[in-house]
Amino acid sequence: NAGVTQTPKFRVLKTGQSMTLLCAQDMNHEYMYWYRQDPGMGLRLIHYSVGEGTTAKGEVPDGYNVSRLKKQNFLLGLESAAPSQTSVYFCASSKLAGKIYNEQFFGPGTRLTVL
């Protein structure tokens, strides 16, 4: 049981380049999330998905796109990278929400630098 995995772990991009971050989970979770973490700030939600084939915008969605073609995978795309997107990106997953919360399980993170 690998939990939540992210690839790649590190990446350096030039301004204007594009890339895709892959998140995979093997816990059969319905919900998946992409966050970014910047110094002095908490984790901020970029996009999330409540099930296969669905996506929704979070707090800071601009400059990113996502897809959830398979339940176990959640892809985060940067179409034209900017230095402001230099950050550590975390993927998370959780069971269906309901009256009782379900905590999120996080991947190890991807450190992205945009020059």
Partner: protein
Amino acid sequence: DQQVKQNSPSLSVQEGRISILNCDYTNSMFDYFLWYKKYPAEGPTFLISISSIKDKNEDGRFTVFLNKSAKHLSLHIVPSQPGDSAVYFCAAILSRYNFNKFYFGSGTKLNVKP
């Protein structure tokens, strides 16, 4: 505007003593509060939670206290161990329409000295 704040970026404590990590929030509608622990090069892992209708929850060495009137949350670790050295995030959950939205603080780096 951050709805969950951790005003101490770092804390240093001697092994065996108590560590107290603090968190303040602004939204009185939050339903749950959680603490996550994060080691370098790893993702955050869930530590302990508390419902908004409780004022205390204990799990081994970890106790979370909630003061709703002050909109304040704290995590107590007793006794502190060197392995507790990590970054601690508090999070608040707003549960609406079958979706839990998480709000995270900026984290406090705890260093437990042997």
